[in-house]
């Protein structure tokens, strides 16, 4: 028991400082991915509800690809693909250098692509839930298209999309664990190192699971707070 406490302490014999840094990396990767994923997802959703068939098709191809590929494969495609591409470009300039793509950035791109594909579906169903009368009413009082979107549609959209998006956030948080495979020092990587060195695999991987659970619980608190705020800002519809 004492041994376990030492292993879990902060300090030279304990792993808690390393693992705490891992938690920070996991959270910052998920937080860094979120805005890009949301923005891209929103734009793709606009493409999907567009009246222009070619735009719809282009948006649907994107979702089909990124919802169909395993996240791990997407990550490898981005990681190795970008590496090879950058090396080719560098070779064009006559320099041969081994270039490593940053695992954090590769993770952001891959997870962001997957997140945006799923988020676009959430936004599309939220858009569909807003009756056409809202647009017509907004145009009738003389709002421009942009104003309608910003002042009338978006506030309702956020409320409708929030449950779906909170679900996607939890999935994103879990998927960041995949980036440990390409060497990012997140929760799973750090606990894995600790497990290998200390030979206490169950303890450390169990701890990793508990940390992810803790993050999930924290996020659901945050989301219910956001939900309360959003719904308190006015009567629903």
């Amino acid at each position: 028991m004492d041994g376990i406490l030492t292993l879990l302490s902060f300090g030279p014999d304990g792993w808690s400082d390393e693992i705490a840094r891992g938690v920070l990396v996991t959270v910052s990767l998920a937080l860094a991915t979120l805005p890009f994923g949301l923005a891209a997802g929103f734009v793709i959703a606009l493409g999907k509800i567009s009246e222009e068939p070619s735009l719809r098709l282009a948006a649907n191809i994107y979702t089909t690809i990124f919802r169909g590929l395993p996240e791990l494969l997407t990550l490898f495609l981005v990681f190795y693909g970008a590496q090879i591409a950058v090396q080719q470009i560098v070779r064009l300039f006559g320099v041969s250098a081994g270039i490593e793509i940053n695992a954090f950035v590769a993770g952001m791109v891959a997870l962001g692509a997957v997140f945006s594909a799923y988020a676009s579906e959430v936004f599309v169903s939220a858009f569909r839930a807003i009756p056409a009368g809202q647009y017509e009413g907004a145009y009738a009082v003389g709002l421009s298209r942009w104003q309608t979107m910003r002042l009338v549609i978006l506030p309702q959209l956020v409320r409708l999309a929030l449950p779906g998006l909170s679900n996607l956030w939890l999935i994103l948080l879990k998927e960041t664990s995949l980036v440990s495979v390409i060497g990012l020092a997140d929760i799973l990587r750090q606990t894995g190192v600790a497990a290998r060195v200390s030979k206490e695999a169950f303890l450390f991987f169990g701890l990793a699971c508990l940390l992810y659970l803790g993050l999930a619980v924290l996020s659901s608190f945050a989301f219910s707070a956001i939900e309360r705020r959003v719904s308190a800002s006015g009567p629903t519809r």
Binding site: R56, T64, L69, K174, K199, A208
Partner: protein
């Protein structure tokens, strides 16, 4: 007034549609041509790096990897379906302890990454080697394949239990009441009235769950199971040829799309009595 006006308009032939180059249309065409370029680029890349030797060497590996993936998903989805029944019953139980246990199970497996769960079982259970050897289970839990199946079964059971529970709860209370008024037993009600309706609701989530499992199964490559992803990684590490990943991506895409179309068809066929 407006009614007579629309009637007038209806009598007129529709105006010839004029296709104008709006911003949306231009954007759509540009994006589509980008996709087209990407497709042609990948095709060109595959043709340019066409290597019969590589194909002869690794195609059988890919096929066996694909088979492992399908086997892994099939076994764990079916075993998970069996396991999900008691969990779903536990979730609906009025006994506080039972429902709390079932809720804890579901919360744990849905709240943690599948990769961490797999590591916990594959590496973590090694901490209990003496105990496992004592019960004679060590040979089983030493095996990466079995650990993967075990972890995936536990994981999908949690998700499937929620699907099952949601589907059963989606059937109205009136159905239960009507059945009991007809003096059907609880089991008969469940089998003949509730489940047939619940399964229609559950079909799409089940299809999605299988797709998620196929995609999730790629991670077993990390614990040295040579599924499709594992074979891909092995081929890439030997050849450093990027086409190995492209082939894997194409296979996964086809697999998932096939499954999606199949689910759509099945749903369309099974719900044809609901169509108006």
């Amino acid at each position: 007034m407006s009614i007579s006006r629309t009637a007038d308009l209806d009598d007129l032939p529709p105006p010839a549609s004029v296709k104008r180059w709006t911003t949306a249309r231009i954007a759509g065409f540009v994006l589509l041509s980008l996709w087209g370029l990407l497709g042609v680029g990948i095709l060109y890349f595959l043709i340019a790096s066409w290597n019969p030797e590589l194909l002869a060497r690794y195609a059988p590996n890919y096929l066996s990897g694909l088979w492992i993936t399908i086997k892994l998903v099939a076994i764990s989805v079916i075993a998970g379906a069996v396991l999900s029944v008691p969990i779903a019953i536990g979730r609906r139980s009025r006994n506080r302890v039972t429902s709390a246990l079932a809720y804890g199970y579901v919360y744990f497996f849905r709240g943690t990454p599948l990769l961490a769960q797999t590591f916990l079982i594959y590496y973590g259970l090694g901490s209990f080697r003496p105990q496992l050897e004592a019960v004679g289970l060590w040979t089983v839990f030493r095996d990466a394949w079995f650990c993967a199946v075990f972890a995936f079964t536990l994981n999908t059971a949690a998700y499937q239990a929620e699907i099952l529970r949601g589907a059963v709860e989606s059937v109205g209370r009136g159905q239960w009441e009507a059945a009991s008024a007809l003096a059907l037993s609880r089991w008969q009600t469940l089998r003949k009235i509730i489940l047939p309706q619940a399964m229609l609701v559950a079909l799409r989530p089940y299809g999605n769950e299988i797709i998620l499992m196929i995609k999730g199964s790629a991670i077993v490559a990390i614990i040295t199971v040579y599924d499709l992803m594992g074979e891909t990684r092995r081929a890439f590490s030997r050849t450093f040829d990027f086409q190995t990943y492209i082939w894997a991506a194409l296979i996964y895409l086809v697999l998932v799309e096939l499954l999606r179309i199949l689910t759509d068809r099945a749903e369309g066929r099974l719900t044809r009595h609901l169509r108006r």
